[in-house]
């Protein structure tokens, strides 16, 4: 008598700890092999786009912090303000531009550290989680000293930043950079040569270059698949055109490549911060922009590079105090739907490693 087998449909989530939020995945299994994956989103939908239509531009900054990608609040503020400033023709003082560039890179480090730590836990490395959060705490302390917030800093304003950095902050930031470069070497010692880690990640979850382009993947996920695209280089904003940095690109497209790209990005961020601290000019930090800002009639689409990828804002203004329509192009949303392509054919245990390596934030996916 032949053993009867059949496909099993398994619901993973929405309360599964390694889905990094409330993501439900409907997985079709044949034994241990994954036949199909359908991500089911919408559990964290907060209708940020609609809420933005009822708030003035300065109130929207605090909304962009919370409603979108909460691990990279400053990147969201920058995305919104780049649209507002482009449409309104608002000039930002030089010092504010350098400060923004520096803060955005600190935000990138903080966001990547959360990713590295949680992904480490997903594939069974607990130490890296504790170490990453130790360094992230230092970054967040720096943010707290300058902006007053630890996760939601309402710091950028149309035409500048709210407050100048306090005295001695720059020395602390540079001291952190020196310390952090050594920590990065420690992370590499912990993970990169680790045989268990390499077996779990090398060659797992390959995203081919063509599929990545077709699905609109961006950020580190696309760069790990051999697409040398970075908004900071392609469409420079703030002072990214005046600092030197490299875009790490890997050809493999597997989990290990995504890991290496993000690790290298953190090193490049430190490099940018050093240059910003060196070139930071004295002067004004905020242009004279009224609190109740009225933008001229028109529409604009701008893009910025958030830690997760290409974050775009499409803003329509009818000349009032509030935007008429805001559309957010979320990087995590596009990256998430590469999952069903990547995961087919792998085992259940690999699914966790692949999902973690995409670095999704469900608030960014659902908006």
């Amino acid at each position: 008598m032949a053993l009867r087998t059949e496909e099993l449909i398994l619901n993973m989530g929405p309360q599964h700890p390694s889905t990094h939020g409330v993501l439900r995945m409907v997985v079709t299994l044949d034994g241990e092999n994954i036949m199909d994956v359908q991500p089911d989103i919408g559990y964290l939908h907060s209708s940020v786009e609609k809420m933005m239509e009822y708030r003035t531009y300065i109130q929207n900054i605090s909304l962009a912090d919370r409603g979108m990608d909460y691990l990279a609040a400053l990147a969201n503020e920058m995305a919104l303000l780049r649209a507002v400033e482009t449409l309104g023709g608002i000039e930002t003082p030089l010092r504010a531009q350098w400060l923004r560039t520096m803060f955005l890179e600190f935000q990138r480090i903080a966001s990547h550290l959360v990713w590295l730590g949680t992904w480490g836990i997903d594939i069974g490395a607990t130490t890296v989680f504790l170490w990453c959060f130790r360094e992230r705490e230092q970054v967040i302390d720096l943010f707290e000293q300058s902006t007053g917030g630890r996760l939601h800093y309402v710091y950028f304003r149309p035409g500048g930043v709210y407050e100048d950095i306090p005295e001695g902050w720059l020395q602390k930031a540079l001291a952190f950079c020196d310390d952090f470069e050594q920590r990065l070497v420690e992370y590499h010692q912990l993970l990169t040569g680790n045989p268990i880690f390499e077996v779990r990640t090398k060659g797992i979850g390959v995203l081919p270059r063509e599929v990545a382009i077709n699905l609109g993947a961006s950020g580190p996920v696309a760069r790990a698949s051999g697409i040398a695209f970075d908004v900071r280089k392609a469409f420079p904003y703030m002072k990214y055109a005046e600092v030197e940095f490299d875009i790490p690109v890997r050809e493999e497209g597997d989990c290990f490549a995504r890991y290496m790209v993000r690790m290298e990005e953190m090193r490049q961020s430190v490099r940018i911060i050093r240059q910003c601290a060196e070139k930071l000019p004295p002067g004004e930090i905020r242009a004279k922009v009224p609190i109740t800002l009225r933008l001229p009639k028109g529409e604009v689409y701008t893009r910025t590079e958030s830690p997760r990828g290409d974050l775009g804002i499409y803003l329509v203004s009818q000349g009032g105090e509030t935007p008429y329509r805001v559309k957010i192009r979320a990087p995590a949303f596009s990256n998430l739907f590469a999952l069903s392509e990547i995961m087919r054919g792998w085992k259940v245990a690999d699914m966790i490693a692949i999902l973690g390596s995409i670095d999704i934030v469900l608030a960014d996916v659902d908006r």
Binding site: I58, Q59, S62, L63, D141, G148, H152, V154, Y162
Partner: protein
């Protein structure tokens, strides 16, 4: 047999490397604090609870009832009412629903007389939501007479 010994040797090597990390970490300074007993300093710019400090010269708060904070608040958690006209206007109600507040700091930014400020205090949890509706007296009392959460060791 030789392959087995090699595997055992590699395993021992890994064990020694791991234990070395454990022992060096033992000697490093601690990164955590025992929270309820020890507390971490917050920075002077900390977005904590809101307060209307009493100015010692006037004996009252500095609010001039311009309604700017009420208007700019994104979550609409500030409610102000006043009676009288022109210079004799008196605050009759200044409520902040602290459970709605998102600590963005826009009210502090727009206040022309710096009447409304942040207090370096972060322990606001209660068992009842209504305790978080701060009225004028509560906001006067929360004024920073002395720093509250600053590395207090019991």
């Amino acid at each position: 047999m030789r392959a087995l010994l090699e595997r055992v040797g590699r395993g021992m090597e890994g064990l020694v490397t791991g234990l070395r990390v454990t022992f060096t970490t033992l000697l490093r300074p601690k990164n955590t604090v025992m929270y309820p007993i020890k507390k971490v300093d917050v920075s002077p710019r900390w977005h904590g609870l809101l307060a209307l400090p009493i100015d010692p010269q006037i004996g009252n708060d500095l609010c001039i009832i311009c309604f700017q904070c009420e208007r700019v608040c994104p979550s609409r958690c500030i409610h102000i009412e006043a009676t009288g006209k022109a210079k004799e206007r008196v605050l009759t109600r200044f409520d902040i629903e602290m459970d709605k507040c998102q600590y963005c700091g826009l009210c502090v930014e727009v206040c022309p007389t710096e009447a409304i400020v942040f207090v370096p205090h972060y322990e606001a949890s209660t068992y009842n939501r209504h305790n978080l509706n701060y009225d004028l007296e509560d906001l006067h009392r929360a004024a920073p007479k002395e720093p509250i959460a600053r590395g207090v060791i019991r």
